[in-house]
Symmetry: C3
Subunit: 343 residues, 3 copies
């Protein structure tokens, strides 16, 4: 059961509707009308709630769960359980997330602009968009419909934002063109000057940073990230890419579609990341490097040269992940005595 | 001498009172009445000030210090000095910190709510609490007594905060229950959505994040940290834990009591950290890992599997710290010629 | 061509003036009067624009560029090109940056203080300084002339800021003395309490943090950085140093002049960095370490002991960079079979 003070629950829904929503079959007429009022983890769920069983290691929780309904797949459903109703589908985690969105749809923002928001008269704000107290909307900004610009966010001059976007509190956006359904969390910095300097006679001379940040549809950006605008070119985040907290994206970086970039990773200037790339936490990608589509970079790696499509790499410098495992083992052996004990 | 423009000093205090405050003896009646008006490092202190000598390597500074009083222990007091008065105690650093709090107590906040703060009428604010200009307090928020909510901080709907807490400027808090005497610095993001996605037919589907952040009493959180709320469960920070700047705490993480987590460390989703654990700077802890009580993780390590109680680990992947030293040495030897020089 | 909605272009300038500005010769009278209206990368430039050719690997772009003018050096100018006019100089990148500043000078801020900024009556604000909506300027703050304090920035009590400084939106500054021409980006935290604790009988006792942050002239600080004030001493950032995004500078750190510190690097407490040091991305520098002038620290390194002047180091623990390369090679060899293939 979630804390209703923080989350607004829809429903209840009858089991038949849940099943249709996720493409599962319902066993019989009687249970199709069973009313489900919420969702929870197996070991927290109560009567009337739906849960999910997606990994065999949780079979004890499955067996003892008080959930009335459990989403699982055919194989896992063979584990012992206490007679709970089952919704069988191929991908229980996906189905459960879909049920989650049914119970907790994205709230339409409270419509309206707070009296203490600061909106430049030349800004254009779409219908149904909410702008919180203390938010600042600069000259010539365009914001689409049904957006939520949270309190004290600052949207600088000429930025454009599409429809159905969320911009978190205290986030700053400048020099950016943002698509639809983009969700940006709190304390994010978008559009800052890239870190480009040339040594000159009087110390470092900043290279003027004259590009933009282009963020395509359906991108998610976590809290406290910093995404710099391009130098001569643009910085681009491709459609559907998800970025975790505290990530650094430097100037001129191009990130493909549907990438996943975990917390505290950093991509240095002018590197190019293909589609569907997965980047682990605290990874560093050097500047001017190319990473092919569907590549996977293990957490804490340092990518110092190009990575091919579908390659998996790890380590500093990053090497194919199997090679990295061999290196790790070889290093362990080095420190062992002939009898196999550590020296 | 500290800069009085930034720090409000109490005192002066007579030496006898300082001694009693830290549990030290005073040598004689005359000096017990000596007036001490401030504190400083050995090499900066002036007449009338108290300093600390806690490590033998600073014996030259001790010998030459102009401090009138020095806090030290019995062993260190044997080093030569210029006749300064000594306060002897077992733990000079602790004693000196206690004296610091005597001279610089936590300022009671200026009481009152700034006219340009935005307070929802349903919020409940305790007596003696200060709320700065531009701060936003949402519906049904509860804030205890003697708190300081600094300028432009945003406390979202239904958050509760105990007594004697500090929330820094431009910090955002949502979906959180916070205890007493919690100190949160500036530009912190608490309660954002965890980084949970399931691959689906139309790209990544976000897993609804329906948990909270629970922060127990006496926790400290540094600037620009990001602490996500739980997915189905809660994210928990245990009593007395201290977290440095730019730290990432992912969804469902449980951190024990009195842990110390240094700057730029990150703990991935659903990991569990025991009590009194020390985590160095830029450490990464993988998701779903358990770290036992009193474990120590060396800076820059990557923890990829469980760590036992009281274990010390280092490296990527993290191994027992003695093993890591052996590996480092073995690697150095590999590159040396038989005569011992680097090849 | 840059996006004029975001960048205000000066000009056009005649080629003769551009040449004089960068100390290059102009080939003949006719071209000296040629009018140049903008700048762009080689492959984006159009007729009437100036570009730069500074690395041989871009010779194809040079050959096919539509730029009317290209800045390059004598050696590179021998590559084939399509008859574009050339401006020859020793350091084309520096010259092109200088031309960039000619076309895009730092905008003088819109002068004036926004009606919804919160300025303490005791603050002193210099002529020509702009303060944005929602910014908070505390008691006894001094801000020089021609500064730009962006929206929702918070400048706490007694901070002083010199002339011609930029402070980004939602940045927080306390306990700091800041020189001239300092540029601080968005969501930065300056002056927070250092991470100093002593174990005591009731858990950790915070060590009072009674120092300041001193930032010298011409420093640049990227988005979402955290720079703590000193404990007993000050934290110092030397003249002309450039710091990228998400960097952590701990208490009592002293950074020299003209250093370059890349994204997500961290320097732990009381370490000292000499002048002209270059620190790569995600580097960690241990506490109480000294790094000599002109040293270079490769990205992702962990510096655990002193580094001499002009040394280049890499790895964790950081060793001379040539030694690190040898170690990396030795580790690769370990996992290869005698025939040279990976085992």
């Amino acid at each position: 059961m979630t804390d209703d003070r923080f989350f607004r629950r829809s429903g209840p829904f009858v089991l038949g509707d849940l099943a249709r929503h996720i493409g599962a079959e319902v066993p019989c007429d009687a249970s199709a009308k069973f009313s489900v009022h919420g969702l929870a983890a197996l070991d927290k769920a109560e009567s009337g709630e739906v849960s999910v069983f997606s990994e065999a290691q949780h079979r004890d929780s499955f067996q003892n769960s008080h959930a009335s309904v459990v989403v699982t797949n055919n194989a896992l459903s063979k584990h012992e359980h206490n007679g709970t109703m089952l919704l069988l589908c191929e991908n229980p985690r996906l189905a459960f997330a879909q049920i989650g969105h049914l119970f907790y749809p994205r709230n339409l923002p409270k419509s309206g602009i707070h009296a203490q928001a600061h909106i430049d008269p030349s800004a254009r704000i779409g219908a149904g968009t909410y702008i919180g107290a203390g938010a600042v909307i600069g000259a010539d900004v365009k914001i689409g419909e049904r957006c939520r610009i949270d309190c004290n966010a600052v949207i600088e001059e000429s930025v454009s934002i599409g429809d159905d976007c969320d911009v978190g509190a205290n986030t700053c956006i400048s020099h950016a063109m943002i698509g639809n359904r983009v969700r940006i969390s709190t304390n994010v910095s978008i559009g800052g000057e890239g870190f480009g300097f040339v040594p000159g006679p009087k110390g470092l001379l900043r290279v003027p940073q004259l590009g933009r940040v282009l963020i395509e549809d359906d991108v998610e950006i976590g809290g406290n990230c910093a995404i710099d605008r391009g130098g001569m070119d643009d910085t681009v985040i491709g459609r559907g890419t998800a970025i975790d907290n505290l990530v650094q994206i430097a100037h001129n970086v191009r990130i493909g579609k549907y990438c996943v970039i975990a917390g505290q990773a950093g991509v240095a200037g002018s590197s190019t990341i293909g589609d569907f790339v997965m980047i682990g936490g605290q990874v560093a990608v050097k500047d001017h490097v190319t990473i092919g589509a569907h590549a996977r970079i293990a957490g804490k790696s340092g990518v110092m040269r190009d990575v091919g499509a579908k390659e998996s790499v790890a380590g500093v410098p990053a090497v194919p992940v199997r090679e990295w495992h061999r290196q790790t083992l070889a290093l362990e052996k080095l420190t062992q005595k002939p009898n196999g004990k550590a020296s």
